[in-house]
C-alpha cells in the first residue's frame, strides 16, 4: 500500500481579539494509506475540522506540509497552496451543500461540466454515480423535494462522479436521524469498496468513528492523543481522556499494595482482577469498561447490586466498589435483582495515575472559552 495523505508537523494558530493566539492544531503528523478509511474523532473545537479544511485547501498552514499522493499541496515555508479546485478531492459536508437551484442531474454533473468532459460521457458517468447511490430515476428532481438522506446521497454521488483518490467527509451523518445514520454508514463503506478511494471521516460521535473506520485518531485541544485501530483505542486507551471519550468508562479510586488492588479506604477486600496489576504501591485509578466486568454468584469481589436498569439490548447494573460505583452491562439473561448480593471480576483493566487536577482545570478553562 502506498501513502495517500501525509501531514508533516502541521500547525495552525489563529489570533483573535478576545482570546489572543489559539493553537487550533498542534504539530499534527499523520500518514494515511491508500484505500484506508480513517476517522478523526474529538470533541467540538478540538481542531479536527480545521485539519480537514487544511487538507482540502480552505485554510492556510501556520507550519508544516501536506502531501496528497506524491504531490506537495500545502507548504507553509515555500508558501505553496494549491487551491481546493485543483486538489482533485471529493468532499461531503454536514449540511449536504447540494445546490438547490439545480436538479439532481445538474448537481452531480457539475464537477464534470467544470472539467469540460464531453456531454455523452457526462451522461454516462452521472447515471452510473446515481445508480451507485440508489438515486436512479431522480435526475430531474430538485433537492428540496428530497429527504435529508437522499440529499446526502446526492452529495456523495457528486463526490464520487469524478472518481477521486481521496474523499473528505466532514460530519456527513450528523444531520440525519439515528436510523438513517446507520444505513448511510454502510452505504459509504460499500461505495468505498466499489471505488477504492481513501476516506478521511471527521466526527464527534465515537460509536460512528469506531463503526466506520479501519484506523482512527482521537484529538483534544489541538493535539493528537492516540492513533490506532478502533479496538486498540477502545481496549488499550493511552490516557484517561481517550478512555473516557470512547465508550463508557468506570473510573475507580484504588490503592495498590503488594501487587493487589484495594478500593480506596476499604483495605479489607481485594478487587478481583484478571490481568496486570501495577507493581508499585500507591494510589491509582482503575479504569474499566461496563462490558469487561464479569458479574456472577460464585467468586470475585463481593458486593451488592445498587440498581438495575433495563436497556433494550442489555441490562445495566450499578454496583459499588468501595466508595465508587461501576456500571456493568450483560445480556438479558441470568438476571440479578436490585439489592441482591453478587461477585464481580474485572478483565484487562487500564491503570492511570491519580487525577492531575491542573490538567482538568485547563480543560475546563478551554471549554468555557
Amino acid at each position: 500500500m502506498t501513502d495517500q495523505i501525509v501531514l508533516n508537523h502541521v500547525t495552525k494558530s489563529f489570533t483573535t481579539k478576545e482570546l489572543g493566539t489559539v493553537v487550533a492544531v498542534n504539530d499534527f503528523n499523520l500518514t494515511v494509506k491508500k484505500g484506508e478509511c480513517f476517522a478523526f474523532l474529538g470533541p467540538s473545537g478540538c481542531g479536527k475540522t480545521t485539519t480537514l479544511r487544511m487538507i482540502a485547501g480552505f485554510e492556510d498552514l501556520t507550519e508544516g506540509q501536506i502531501y496528497l499522493g506524491d504531490k506537495l499541496v500545502s507548504d507553509s515555508k515555500k508558501n505553496i497552496y494549491i487551491p481546493p479546485e485543483k486538489r482533485e478531492l471529493g468532499m461531503v459536508f454536514q449540511a449536504f451543500a447540494v445546490w438547490p437551484h439545480m436538479n439532481i442531474f445538474d448537481n452531480v454533473a457539475f464537477p464534470l461540466k467544470v472539467k469540460k468532459v464531453p456531454k455523452a460521457e457526462i451522461k454516462e458517468r452521472v447515471t452510473k454515480a446515481l445508480h451507485y447511490t440508489s438515486l436512479d430515476g431522480l435526475e430531474k428532481t430538485f433537492p428540496s423535494d428530497l429527504s435529508g438522506g437522499q440529499q446526502q446521497r446526492i452529495a456523495l454521488a457528486r463526490a464520487i462522479v469524478v472518481n477521486p483518490d481521496v474523499m473528505l467527509l466532514d460530519e456527513p451523518l450528523s444531520n440525519l436521524d439515528p436510523h438513517l445514520r446507520e444505513t448511510m454508514r454502510f452505504e459509504i463503506k460499500r461505495l468505498q469498496k466499489e471505488f477504492g478511494f481513501t476516506i478521511i471521516f471527521v466526527t464527534h460521535d465515537q460509536a460512528e468513528a469506531m463503526a466506520i473506520s479501519d484506523r482512527m485518531l482521537v484529538m483534544d485541544m489541538g493535539n493528537v492523543q492516540q492513533i490506532g485501530t478502533p479496538s486498540e483505542l477502545y481496549n488499550k486507551p493511552i490516557n484517561k481522556f481517550v478512555h473516557s471519550f470512547l465508550g463508557q468508562s468506570n473510573f475507580t479510586k484504588v490503592v495498590i499494595k503488594d501487587g493487589k488492588a484495594y478500593a480506596k479506604g476499604h483495605m479489607d477486600q481485594t478487587i478481583a482482577v484478571d490481568g496486570n496489576v501495577p507493581e508499585e504501591n500507591g494510589e491509582m485509578i482503575l479504569a474499566t469498561r461496563p462490558n469487561t466486568i464479569d458479574i456472577n454468584r460464585e467468586s470475585g469481589y463481593k458486593t451488592r447490586i445498587i440498581k438495575r436498569t433495563f436497556k433494550t439490548d442489555f441490562v445495566e447494573y450499578l454496583v459499588a466498589i468501595g466508595d465508587d460505583t461501576v456500571l456493568i452491562q450483560t445480556p438479558h439473561r441470568n438476571l440479578f435483582k436490585s439489592g441482591e448480593e453478587c461477585y464481580i471480576r474485572v478483565h484487562n483493566p487500564a491503570w492511570y495515575p491519580p487525577e492531575d487536577e491542573e490538567a482538568e482545570k485547563e480543560r475546563e478553562r478551554r471549554n468555557v472559552v
Partner: protein
C-alpha cells in the same frame, strides 16, 4: 389510592379518532411511563388529564374527584385541576426570572409571602437550581431551563406531575443526568409522575410501570421493565421495544423446524409459547439472543461486523435471510474470532413465537 382514573375516554378530531374508549388507572406515588410511537395519542391522554382537551365521552378523575365528565356535565378548568405540567419545550416564561417563574403558581393561589418564599426555595433546591434565582431563562442552558420548569410544576402541584417528553430536547449526557434527578426527586417527595415519551430506553430506566400504547391509541401492555422485556404481550410490543429478527418456523412430526427451503431442526418438541394455529408461524428473536456456538448444527455466515466498543454488531446470513446479531465484547481475543466471511454455528435463546400475518408496524 388511585391518583388518576380515566374511564372510557373517546377523543375525535373530525373523522380521526385518536382515543377510542380509553381507560387507564394510575396508582399513587409511582412513576408511570406512557410510551408509544409518535401520533399514537399519548399526548392526547395527558392533555385530557390536564383539561386542554375535552373528550367526546368519558370521565377523568383526579384523587377520586371528577374533573371531567361528559355525562355529568362536569368540566373543571385546567387551572383548577391541581396538576403540575412539564412540557417538552420547557415553556418557562422568558420575561420572568427563575424565582418569579417558580413563584407564579403560588401567587395565583394567593399564598402569603413567607410561605411562598419558603416553597419556591424548597422547589429550587429539589432541582439543584438554588443559586439561579435571579437568572432569566435566556441565561440558562436547556437542561437548567427544564429544571426550572420542573420546579414550577412542583410549586403548582407536588403530588401529581405530568412530564411530556421532558428530556427529548436535551443532549444524551444531560438526558441521563436529568432522568436520575427526576427519580431521586420522586423518591424524596413521593409524587405521582406521569411520564410521556416515545423513547423506550428512557421509560425502561425511569418508570415503575410502563404503559405501551399502540398506533391505534389502544393500550398494548402495562407492566414493569422486566415484564415488558421478558414477556412482551404481542408482536407489536416485541418490535417496539428493540431491534428484532423474525424467522419463519413450522412444526412437523412434533418437532420445530426453521421453515427455509432446506428446513433446519430448531427444537425437539413444541416450544413454549408456540401458538395453537394452522397458520404459518414465525419466531422473534433479539440480536443479543442469537448466540455463536460452534457446537450448534445451525450454521450461518458472517457478512459484516461492526465494532462499537462495548458491543459487536454482526450481520449474518441464514437460509437466505439476513439476521442481526449482537455480542457484548470481552476485550480479549474472542472479539477477533468472528470475522467477515466466517461460518459460525448459532443457537437461539428466549425466542417468542407469533402467527405470521400479525401486523406490527412500528
Amino acid at each position: 389510592m388511585n391518583k388518576v382514573e380515566l374511564e372510557n375516554i373517546t377523543v375525535r378530531y373530525g373523522d380521526h379518532t385518536v382515543l377510542d374508549n380509553f381507560s387507564l388507572t394510575i396508582p399513587e406515588g409511582k412513576i408511570i411511563g406512557i410510551v408509544g410511537p409518535s401520533a399514537c395519542g399519548k399526548t392526547t391522554v395527558v392533555r385530557a388529564i390536564c383539561g386542554f382537551v375535552n373528550p367526546q365521552t368519558g370521565t377523568v378523575k383526579i384523587n377520586g374527584n371528577t374533573m371531567y365528565s361528559k355525562e355529568q356535565k362536569v368540566n373543571i378548568a385546567p387551572e383548577r385541576r391541581n396538576v403540575g405540567v412539564v412540557f417538552q419545550d420547557y415553556a418557562v416564561w422568558p420575561h420572568l426570572s427563575v424565582y418569579d417563574n417558580v413563584a407564579y403558581p403560588l401567587k395565583k393561589r394567593k399564598v402569603n409571602k413567607e410561605e411562598l418564599d419558603k416553597e419556591v426555595k424548597e422547589a429550587l433546591r429539589q432541582v439543584n437550581m438554588s443559586s439561579y434565582e435571579k437568572y432569566l431563562p435566556s441565561q440558562l442552558s436547556g437542561g437548567q431551563q427544564q429544571r426550572v420548569a420542573i420546579a414550577r410544576a412542583l410549586t403548582s402541584s407536588k403530588d401529581l406531575l405530568i412530564m411530556d417528553e421532558p428530556i427529548t430536547n436535551l443532549d444524551a449526557k444531560l438526558r441521563e443526568q436529568l432522568l436520575v434527578e427526576i427519580r431521586l426527586m420522586q423518591e424524596r417527595l413521593g409524587s405521582t409522575i406521569i411520564y410521556i415519551t416515545h423513547d423506550q430506553e428512557a421509560a425502561l430506566q425511569l418508570c415503575d410501570k410502563i404503559v405501551i400504547m399502540q398506533n391505534d391509541g389502544s393500550i398494548g401492555q402495562i407492566g414493569t421493565d422486566e415484564e415488558i422485556i421478558k414477556d412482551p404481550a404481542n408482536k407489536f410490543i416485541f418490535k417496539f421495544i428493540g431491534v428484532s429478527n423474525f424467522l419463519p418456523v413450522k412444526m412437523e412430526d412434533g418437532k420445530c423446524y426453521l421453515d427455509y427451503s432446506e428446513p433446519m431442526l430448531l427444537r425437539e418438541g413444541k416450544p413454549e409459547g408456540y401458538p395453537d394455529t394452522d397458520k404459518p408461524v414465525e419466531m422473534g428473536v433479539r440480536p443479543m439472543d442469537v448466540i455463536f456456538d460452534d457446537a450448534s448444527p445451525i450454521k450461518a455466515k458472517i457478512i459484516q461486523t461492526v465494532f462499537l466498543g462495548n458491543i459487536y454488531n454482526y450481520f449474518i446470513q441464514l437460509g437466505g435471510q439476513e439476521l442481526r446479531v449482537q455480542r457484548i465484547t470481552s476485550g480479549g481475543e474472542e472479539d477477533d474470532k468472528y470475522v467477515e466471511g466466517k461460518e459460525v454455528g448459532i443457537r437461539f435463546v428466549g425466542e417468542k413465537y407469533y402467527t405470521r400475518e400479525e401486523k406490527a408496524d412500528v
